[in-house]
């Protein structure tokens, strides 16, 4: 980032390549809409670029990056919460990227055992929905902890809370997930 600050455009390209996938995935799991997630990720990079001259390496770059992303995601989730409530039940059901848009004709080719494939898809859907049902801050904490593998100190800075509060937040989130995913948890325990 210090090279980007010094005006090295190539370093910005490196940052883009290194962080685009984790950022898009984090934002996608926060907002549950791929297009919106990409727009937000672009906005994150734009803000990083704009702020490059004022960047002070007081914290890890990832902390700063995901703090921008988390704030954008939380604002977006809050803004669209009411819009979602207004969506008509008659609206066409959109299939998101993880749920395999346009893959139906290939199922038989790729998965000889369709039943097994359906079981796997149902399982993933349950996990996604369990994450989606978490309160926004808990969801952000779980995603940063589990998928970005950031340490407690970094996540606490991103979510602007103490490490102790973060540990309680994560504990509550895992408790909720444990209850929501109880059938799958039991299966995991037996296997």
């Amino acid at each position: 980032m210090l090279d980007v600050k010094a005006g090295d455009e190539q370093s910005f390209t490196l940052l883009l390549h290194r962080y685009r996938t984790p950022l898009v995935n984090f934002l996608y799991r926060m907002v549950r809409n791929r297009e919106q997630a990409e727009d937000l990720a672009q906005e994150v990079f734009l803000r990083v670029y704009r702020a490059r001259e004022d960047y002070v390496p007081s914290a890890k770059f990832t902390t700063w990056l995901f703090r921008i992303a988390t704030n954008l995601a939380l604002n977006s989730v809050r803004d669209t919460r009411y819009q979602r409530m207004e969506i008509s039940l008659d609206a066409p059901v959109t299939v998101d990227a993880e749920e395999g848009e346009g893959k139906t004709p290939d199922i038989a080719e790729k998965h000889p055992n369709i039943e097994q494939h359906l079981v796997e898809e149902t399982r993933k859907k349950m996990i996604r929905h369990a994450i989606e049902k978490l309160p926004e801050k808990q969801r952000a904490a779980v995603l940063l902890h589990k998928y970005q593998e950031l340490d407690y100190g970094e996540i606490a800075k991103i979510l602007q809370c103490s490490e102790s509060a973060l540990k309680s937040l994560l504990f509550r989130a895992y408790e909720t997930l444990r209850v929501e995913l109880a059938p799958l948890v039991a299966q995991q325990g037996n296997s």
Binding site: L16, R20, E38, F45, R128, V142, K167, F171, L184, G189
Partner: protein, 154 residues
Amino acid sequence: MSCSRMEKKILGYVDGRLGESERLEVEKHLAVCAGCRLRVNEFRAVSGLLDELPMIEPSAAFDLRVRARVAAIPVKQSWWAWLMPAPRVAIAAAMLVAAMLWVGTRPGRNQPQIAQDDIPVLENYDVLSNFEPLTELPPPVQADDGGQPQNPQL
């Protein structure tokens, strides 16, 4: 260690993020608490389930869109930089300022003019001011009004 204190350590234990002493402390508690042992196993199962979600890849146009948005950011210029593309304007402005300064510092026409006839008097000012007979003149004589009030009607 109590079960309530386990709340803040259990996830760190599941992830292997605890220090040696904390890990031993947790394991000591787990050895005697079936409830916390069960919870550890269930949290491990939840963590394993979260691993099952696949990652998605950004669309092919993602980089291009970022680059386009970055390129659209207006370039920040200092007040001085705006002169650079137009040196003729800069030179003209500098000449105008110099001309204004020159005009402003010239002696003004409104200053009081000294008449040509006054110059010899001024040249002799020192002589006249120190001329003894003039300094020794008697005090002016008071007009004798006879102690009577003046009558403007006379």
